[in-house]
Subunit: 86 residues, 2 copies
Amino acid sequence: ADVENGRKLARQCSACHGKFGLSKDPEVPNLAGQPSLYLEKSLKDYRDGAREDRRMTLISEPLTDDDVRDLAAWFASIEFNVVTPD
Amino acid sequence: ADVENGRKLARQCSACHGKFGLSKDPEVPNLAGQPSLYLEKSLKDYRDGAREDRRMTLISEPLTDDDVRDLAAWFASIEFNVVTPD
């Protein structure tokens, strides 16, 4: 996968998912650090109609499998840490 | 929402999603710090059939709306920070 290409493609995602995958909308998930296989499946499900969302169905429609792989690799590459609750 | 109740209910999620929402399976998303509205919608979509997954459909089936709200509040409460890429 080409993470840099994914990063460029991800510009169209940043309005809702944030520049580095930190969501700006309580109905929109964070993408930072999500496993790439899960991200690939989600994108393909939106693109192929197994999953529906007004915005995601539109945005995913033109994506090729390579685009999906690169986008997933980019967001999966973003490092994050979790503060373990007591 | 009752975060403590959500934490108890989340024991059944930890096998795949990890004790604190850090996924143990490349096909399974992290839940730590995800916005609660998104988590609520996902759980209800699995429970009500708008979204399908072998494991999630089974696990979400018995959940009440209160269970869904508490589970979402628990995972959303886990602090999540992104390390901004260069």
